[in-house]
Symmetry: C2
Subunit: 164 residues, 2 copies
DNA sequence: GTTGACATGTAACAAGTTACATGATTGA
DNA sequence: TCAATCATGTAACTTGTTACATGTCAAC
């Protein structure tokens, strides 16, 4: 598991409300994790119970801003450094590529073309994002990796789509 | 969801027992999906109930070989072609890269070096796999994509590890 | 005869999604 | 005042994991 540590990580970047976290999962982390508020709020409660986060302020609409405690920071560090990553997770896209080979030529081409369109759009979004970013911001390196992987994927998909 | 369609896809490649499917999830699909036998067996029962698969033979140790029915084949095709892929799934590796930027220089380097070692090992495995494969086999294209993505990732990780 | 791979299943639990439910504040 | 966005929560359900439980067959 690890919604716990994803939340811990986002709180380390900046103290936030559950609502803000839900938006970050939709925006910054969108392609890496998607968590619903219905899971986030209970998780924040649990983080508080564990002593890893605490409410540091309350806003106008009943909002509660959470921040990491010292214990929370060291737990996050421990997880990042000491816990071996769980490789080999579900990846529907990869399964589809794998199974796409079973389709007849027409269906296969349609599927690859759909994927090409998607990756092209993502590329445009990443480019726009990168152009908005200070290149020294650590996050810029991430976006750059995304662009490089997209480029490789796009080339491969085009080769596949034009095969026969 | 979609263990259902992953199983359907594997059965389309060749009729198999639950045990064999569990091994395929561990081996061929290992980096894309990991399903336990405790989930596979109930899923096979459900596929049979839906009329998408059926037992085509029984082996010595109580083994049951399942194969797709016509309805199963058309459901698989429908899913691959008509159901839009669920992009944006959990990806612990990406979250870790994202959060790794929060670490101090020493921890960060250690983490990136661990990742470099992992990707290097995976690269070696993929290379060995590719050398075993007939280059015309559709699966070879998949392996090739894996190698290209690995190469990009490795380069990026090395840049990050040697940054500062 | 005993170890290891083959082979299937269930039960209890953890994690994640969908749907339900409510209310406050801001801006048009 | 009405709509959109901010904001939080719970309940029911689905999916996935871990642990338990059992039995067969082949090779040594």
């Amino acid at each position: 598991m690890s919604l716990r540590h994803a939340v811990l990580g986002l709180l380390a970047r900046r103290p936030s409300t559950g609502y803000e976290l839900a938006r970050m999962f939709d925006l910054s982390l969108r392609s890496a994790w998607h968590a619903k508020h219905s899971q986030i709020y209970p998780e924040l409660a649990k983080l508080e119970e564990l002593g890893w986060a605490e409410v540091v302020s309350r806003g106008p609409r009943g909002s509660k801003t959470y921040a990491l405690t010292d214990a929370g920071h060291s737990e996050l560090r421990r997880w990042l450094v000491e816990v071996p990553p769980d490789r080999g997770q579900r990846n529907e896209g990869a399964v589809r590529l794998f199974l796409g080979q079973l389709l007849g030529p027409e269906d296969r081409r349609a599927v690859f073309e759909r994927d090409v369109a998607y990756v092209e759009q993502e590329e445009a979004e990443l480019r726009a994002l990168r152009d908005d970013l200070d290149p020294d911001e650590p996050f810029a390196a991430q976006v750059d990796l995304g662009l490089r992987i997209n480029a490789v994927l796009l080339e491969w998909l085009r080769e596949q789509a034009s095969r026969d």
